[in-house]
Every structure is written in structure tokens, then in C-alpha cells.
Symmetry: C2
Subunit: 324 residues, 2 copies
Amino acid sequence: MKLMQLYASLKSELQAIEDQMALTVTSDLPLLSETSLHLLKAGGKRIRPVLVLLAGKFGDYSLETLKKVAVPLELIHMATLVHDDVIDDADTRRGQLTVKSKWDNRIAMFTGDYIYAKALTVVTDLEQPRIHQILSGTIVQVCIGEMEQIRDFFNVDQSVRNYLRRIRRKTALLIAISCQLGAVATGAPAAISSALYRFGYNLGMNFQIMDDLLDLCGTEKAIGKPPGSDLRQGNITLPVLYALQEDALRGRLLAEIEAIKAGDGRSDSSAAVKLVRSSRGIREAERMADRYIAKALRALDTLPDIPAKRNLADIARFVAKRSY
Amino acid sequence: MKLMQLYASLKSELQAIEDQMALTVTSDLPLLSETSLHLLKAGGKRIRPVLVLLAGKFGDYSLETLKKVAVPLELIHMATLVHDDVIDDADTRRGQLTVKSKWDNRIAMFTGDYIYAKALTVVTDLEQPRIHQILSGTIVQVCIGEMEQIRDFFNVDQSVRNYLRRIRRKTALLIAISCQLGAVATGAPAAISSALYRFGYNLGMNFQIMDDLLDLCGTEKAIGKPPGSDLRQGNITLPVLYALQEDALRGRLLAEIEAIKAGDGRSDSSAAVKLVRSSRGIREAERMADRYIAKALRALDTLPDIPAKRNLADIARFVAKRSY
């Protein structure tokens, strides 16, 4: 089944989730509804809701229950995006003005806080303490990941392990628990929810590495912003770390990164991007991404053979595809 | 019993809460522990933990249980302070540099997010869904209140009702549920937890009005910053709204507020402060504050006559005292 068909087959469920998200962030304060809905309207792949729905097929499927997992997870993801845009000083996301750009930083901060708080009111309808524990523990990890990213800006001496730990927190865990909680909420056996967690975790790791590769190798049209924006911001990603390990390149790449840093974000990163592209870094990062996808697919092995299992595999293969 | 004695009698419990707060925010990321503990070390009245402990006396008192309410409530309060300081561009709080000032805005934003998320991991230990529902619903209101405050900056046409609704959300509700949840967590009857909620709500309303009065009438030494900082920021508080109702003053006060606004926060608000002090606004705001304290004390009437009841009344009378 192609991915488009999968989305089509989940259309009414995804619409119900979309409606619930809009309803959740609507408040009697027009400004907050406006900033929140602005974000919602920008759309997105809604990968977390899709994973929640598919994971729910392994338990006692109930859209009402799954909505109470999918809506908060996607809203929490959105809240982190709003705060990220403040940090990154980003003007556009998904082709739309960011909240911080259309309004201002302080409005973006409280919009993020608000969406996040609203997300929690939805999940508290579910009376399984374990769900709340998993969710709040994961949010803590996401925050630590965000902070690690700030700490590691322009740190050219960080290890690959460092990078992996950071993207695990920043990205992979929320995708992992999207799979896990869909199963937990619908009462699937523990063995199934942990296999789904492992699937989501490895998928999330691949997802972030691919995203970081795209920022270096994609066209401006495909990325929606000029390539190399991670580097401009000081975010040293996996391909760059690998490139820095090449003796023939290291000196020049360090000098370029130093120049970007000195330029305080306004510098051009295209020379650095070119160096990384010419290095083995791209190939090695791709190999790492492939390993995660292989692990994700292996995590599915023990799952019962229902259509959702094949759908998850399709998603993994799609995410892993190079779009540059 | 004097307030000092009350704090002394709760010393070991408050210390246990303090320790748990420090433990909760400590992470394996030194930067985050540092920013969070920086805030913790600045101290504070810990009014929310005190209220939680006293409310717990009306139920089946358990420090272990009450800690899981008091620690998150105080941490959530702290998280909002960190975000507030970003918005207010505040350099000091309680005589210490703010996180945004000692580090920077983006670190302050994620420190707030992190403390908030950590707070939630503590409360998820409690398996009463109602607690989570009350807490998350209140946090939403706090966020809406913060946003209303931004929206209403320099809005001289807002009504008193507007102001009261905003401080209800921004301040009073979190104090209300400190009382309520202490009772709910220890299994006190519903009539008791709602009486305690009403007590806390009215106490919180008084608390914010007194705080707003202090900002206008206090000395720089008592406030820790020059008087009139609310006005400098554009925050139109109750005494100012009342002063604006005086025909003889309105024109001059409007002109002063307009000048502050034009000065973009750098203006001197002392002339406006002087006008408000000379108005009936101070007296009327004090009367409103007194009414809330009377209501708070009345809410205690139906409670069983245990020492904690007198302690709560002492707190109310103390909070209501003018310190200017």
C-alpha cells in the first residue's frame, strides 16, 4: 500500500483528530485561538496521529480513546515547534509565517505554553496513570534535548554519541511513545507496546538523521529555506561530525564554521555545506540512517500479522527514502 | 499563632518539600540543573506548599502524598516566573539575577518548559485522575491569564471586571487549587475541598491586588525595584483603573501613561505613580482587597475546628496586611 493510500484509508479518523485539535486550542481569548489555529492550519504530515491510530489496531481499537492520545501528542509536538521558532529566530515554517514572526516572541512563548497545557487537559481524560507517566517523562526528555541542542551549538568537539543522544531526546522519543501509547491506551499486551516503542524509536532516529541530511543536501525548494540553515544556527549535525573526522577537510571546515559563528547567524553557510557534501559524511550518515530503519523493521517482526503491521513498514520505508 | 511560628512548626515538612523540589529539577545536564537550582535557591514564601500541607490536615494527612501535590504546584509557579521574566525583560527577582539575565532568553524559555515538565512527572505518581484534570485545567487558565495580560498592556479602557478576570487566572486559581488539591489528595470530603478552594481563591485575589498596590505604594527597598514597574511595563492594575475613573485626574493620567508607552518601557513612571497615589484608586483597591479577605475567612466557617483552620485564617490576615 502506498503512503497516499494509507492516508486516504485513515482520512475520516485523521479528520476527527484534526477537528479535536482545533476544538482543543480554541479558547474564549481570540488572540490565543488565532495564534494556535494559525499553526494548526499550516498542516503537517501528522505522523504522530497516524502512528497512534495504527498502533491502536493492535489493541482494542477505539477512535475515541486514541484521539485522547493522538491529539495531545501532536499538540505537544506543535508547542515545541512554536518554542523552537523563538529560539531559531525562524520567520517561516511550512511556508507560513511563524507565530513569533507574525506576532512576537512573548506571544509565541505563551502560545506554546498554552497549547502544551491544553494538550494535557485532553490526555487527563484517560484514567491510566501509566500513560501520564510515560508522557510527562518523555516531555522532560524533549526539554533536555532542546537544552542540549542550545548547549552544543557550534561545539565542533562533540561526539557522534552526543549527537545521537540529543536527537533521541529531541525527536525519537515522542515518535516512540506515539506508537507505544496507541497500544497502551487500547490495552494491547506489553510485548506489543514495547515492540511498537522500539519501532517508533528507530523510525524517529532515522527521521531526524534524514531531516539533518536534507538540510545539507536538499534544494532550497525542497527544504523551504536555503540549505545549511542548521549550520547557520550552530547546529552541528551527523554529516558534519563525520566530515570533521576527515583530516583533509577538518581544517577548512573548522574555519568555515568559525566564520559562521563569528557572523552571529547572518553568515553564509554555503561554503561549509559544500565541504560537507564533498566529504564521506553524507554517505556515513545515510548508512547510520539505514541501520535505524533496518532496526525499526526488525522491531515489527514479533507483531501479529495484521494490515497495520504492513502499514507501519510502509511508513518506515517511505521515511527512509532520500528526497534529495 | 504568628506566621513565623507557623512556618517553624512546618519546618521539617517544608524542608522535605524543598529537598524534593531540588531533587526533581536536578538532571544529568549540568546547565539545566544549574538554571533550575539557581531559581530554587532564591527562595520565596512557599505559600503554595504551606497551603497544601494545611489543607492536607483536613484529610488523611500524609507528607508523602502531599509532597506530590506541593512540589509540582510550587515548581509550576516557578516555571511561570521564569517565562514571566522573559516577557517582562526582568533582570532581577528576589534580589537575584533572573535566568534570562544570567543566561539568556532561550535558556530561560527551555528552563521554564523543563521545570514545568518535571513538575508533571511528580504529580503523575498520584493515581487520582481528578487531580490531573484539575491541575491541567488550571495551567491552561494561567496561560490564558498571561496572554490576557500581554493583550491588555497599556489598554486604559479595560474594565475592572477585565482586571479581576485576569488576576483570577494569572494568580488566584493556582492558590485556590493548592488548597483544594491538598484536601483531594488526602481524601477529604468534597464539601471540605470546595470550601478550601473558595478560601484559596479569595486569598489569591487579595494577594494579587495587594501586590499591585505594593508596586504603586511601596518603597523601592520594600519592593526590591523602583515603584511603578507595572505601569512602566504597561500593566494597568486595579488602583490605576479606579484612578482613571476620576474626572479630575483622568486626562493627566492618560497623558502620563501615553508617554510611558511612547518611551517603550524606558520611561519614568513616577509622575503617573504620584497621580494614582493622590487618587481614590488606592483606597478603593484596598477596599476590594479587604472584601476578598473577608470572603476567604468566611469560606473557612464550615470547616471543622482543627488547628489548621486557625493557621489558614492567620495566613489570610497576614497576607491582607498593608506593608506600605
